[in-house]
């Protein structure tokens, strides 16, 4: 059992949970994730370890409520406990220890990019973060990222930072030169756009893939992704890959496998229906 010790709302649909997991807090590295199962009968879902505090023995999960499992998690309150948290899974991020790294985060991807930016800074690299959201209230993690380097904030409506998408700001940084590596994490179309942008510049680009997972240990093969004409298991071979080699079409397509079933299930998540009516 993993007690929730703190909770905060970061944007209208993104919630931060600090969860007791002393062993994970001690050994996790940037880029790694956990598989979480809220309770008996719940799904196993992958979530990035966004931060950790080895003194208090907690890890931070930053969760975007998109469907039934994530909504149930963000409905939990401090004092309640998550039944299963397994990890740390996946390869730690490939880091650089000098030079200039640009970390691009879209939506909840900003939470996933944060530990990478932290690790890069610790390793000695210069970090510029480019983060975005629909409007001001959707921008998350800005203060945390400011501690690590320069931050460019983009909003679709221009209500905060510059108006436009993270891709435009990234293009300018690339054009200015001196970028050694780009980390792009967010919705699939955003990662694809960033990878297409950096390709002509020949700048190495790391993306973090988010296929549907079950075990997270290489046992089921459900997390298959295409990388450089090879099939890889994202949970053990990734989740981070060379963005210039990733088959994004395959990823988006496979993410729709359970769409109909998910929509039916989401209708039953907390906030969507009242107690007692949660059975289809």
């Amino acid at each position: 059992m993993h007690k929730i010790v703190a909770k905060a709302q970061l944007s209208p649909n993104v919630t931060r949970l600090d969860v007791e997991a002393p062993r994970l807090a001690e050994i996790r590295r940037a880029g790694q994730f956990v598989i979480v199962r809220r309770g008996e009968g719940s799904e196993r879902i992958p979530l990035t370890i966004a931060d950790s505090n080895s003194a208090s023995g907690t890890i931070t999960l930053i969760i975007q409520a998109v469907g039934r499992s994530t909504r149930e998690l963000v409905a939990m309150e401090p004092g309640e406990a998550i039944q299963d948290v397994a990890g740390p899974l996946g390869h730690p991020t490939e880091l650089i220890s000098s030079g200039h790294a640009v970390c691009v985060g879209g939506g909840v991807g900003t939470a996933v990019v944060h530990p990478i930016a932290q690790a890069l800074r610790r390793a000695g690299a210069r970090v510029t973060s480019v983060i975005g959201g629909r409007s001001r209230e959707w921008v998350i993690m800005e203060p945390e990222l400011r501690l690590l380097g320069e931050v460019v904030v983009c909003t679709d409506d221009g209500s905060y930072g510059r108006k436009g998408f993270v891709t435009e700001a990234t293009r300018e940084l690339l054009a200015a030169g001196g970028v050694d590596i780009v980390y792009a994490i967010g919705p699939v179309p955003m990662m694809r756009a960033i990878a297409n942008l950096t390709r002509p510049f020949g700048v190495r680009t790391i993306v973090s893939l988010n296929p549907v997972m079950v075990d997270g240990t290489g046992m089921c093969g459900g997390c298959r992704v295409g990388v450089g004409n090879e099939t890889k298991f994202a949970c053990v071979d990734g989740p981070e890959f060379d963005g210039h080699l990733v088959d994004f079409d395959l990823l988006s397509d496979r993410l729709t496998t359970y769409r109909e079933l998910e929509q039916a299930a989401t209708a039953c998540a907390p906030g969507a229906c009242r107690v007692g009516l949660n059975k289809i």
Binding site: D84, P88, V214, T217, M219, C220, D253, R254
Partner: protein, 472 residues
Amino acid sequence: MSKITVKERLKINRQTMPEQLATIRNANFAEVNLGLPEQVAIMEAQRCLQCKEPKCMSGCPVNVNISQFIDFVAQGNMPAAALSLLGDNALPAVTGRVCPQETQCECECVRGFKGLPVAIGYLERYVADWARGHEDQLSTSVAAPTGKKIAVIGSGPAGLTAAGELAKLGHAVTVYEALHQPGGVLVYGIPEFRLPKAIVAQEIERLQRLGVKIECNIIVGRTYTLPELKERFDAVFIANGAGLPTFMNIPGENLKGVYSANEYLTRVNLMAAYDPDAQTPVLRPARAAVVGGGNVAMDAARTAKRMGAQRVAIVYRRGKAEMPARAEEVHHAEQEGIEFELLSLPVEILGSENRWVTGLKCLRMQLGEPDASGRCRPEPIPGSEFVVECDMVISALGSRANPLLTHTCPDLKLDKRGNIMVDDKGMTSIPGVFAGGDIVRGAATVILAMGDGKNTAKAINDYLRIVQVSRI
């Protein structure tokens, strides 16, 4: 009653296992076999001739004293039968259901030379189920604590058996399991209708009463490394199975609707997707094709049928006689209306514009000369292409060693296939680290894994004594 003569014994015919009707059971997940009633079990036990030198036992990897426990059943002395069986076999309710008895013990039974062998599997199951209902009448003694600590990696049949044996010897055993529930393939692979999960849970509880500690959600190689465990424990037993799925490497394998048997069965069994209240989704198409001919393929096919598929075809590249599955599973699958596309080699998975599976393109095969394994080598017939129409393809081609743990420990010697190499005592290239079950043998059977667990437990016990003596 034990006075029954050989002649009388020979007169009794083999009893049949009561089972759910095929047309009813292929739509539910309740157990297919219903178990023998007591009187029938006693009658079956009386068929055993109580050979002076029983051949059946030589076929059993855990050396169950078969004639002894059956003799107790014949006398109606179930507590004695249970104590005898449990002394030899840590998970009899499991093996009584899933062992390939026809190639293990029953094939050696002298009664089989003229007629049918004693139904050893049915009797094992009968006694094990009796024991589950009468735990209070069965006490197992545990030796005084030795102060030695042993880590077991993986809670499948190999790990659980070793843990039970070591605990009985007085060692403090901790089992680390990567998933959220212990049992290995017994809980994530083998379906409910063949091996109810409640039975596995009860067998595991018995081990916990012996003092075995089980910690779930610990992935060795990630949460802890092998060197760390070696540091903290006096010995380590690796039994992490062969959990890496095999795909066919044919075009179309990443279409939606293609599963590995591991994923499909895990969703349905471990995550209970057969239960309408469960949260883990699984596809429930009308037509399914399952590629393979082993137990895994039979389980996937029969599961798909129960999940509502109208047509399910097993696609296998050799003939029925070459299928590695247990005879009972093939028979049950046929009864339940599973179709068999034998001598068929999948060459491509076909998909729709939206990238959903629409069919499995195959070539017809003919059997050629026997290969190294003694089985006839299948050869494709040119121009014989045909399509099995389906909306789901399950690849059940067996599994290999998962490199997650072994990759993080370069000192561990592996064979070409990535399996851990051990000496005749089950010890790996690292002193004090032992291994057994599928991670050593490649995908094999429950009882072979248990045999490894049992033998290695003895070897670990000996090793700990030698280490102690050499330290003095």
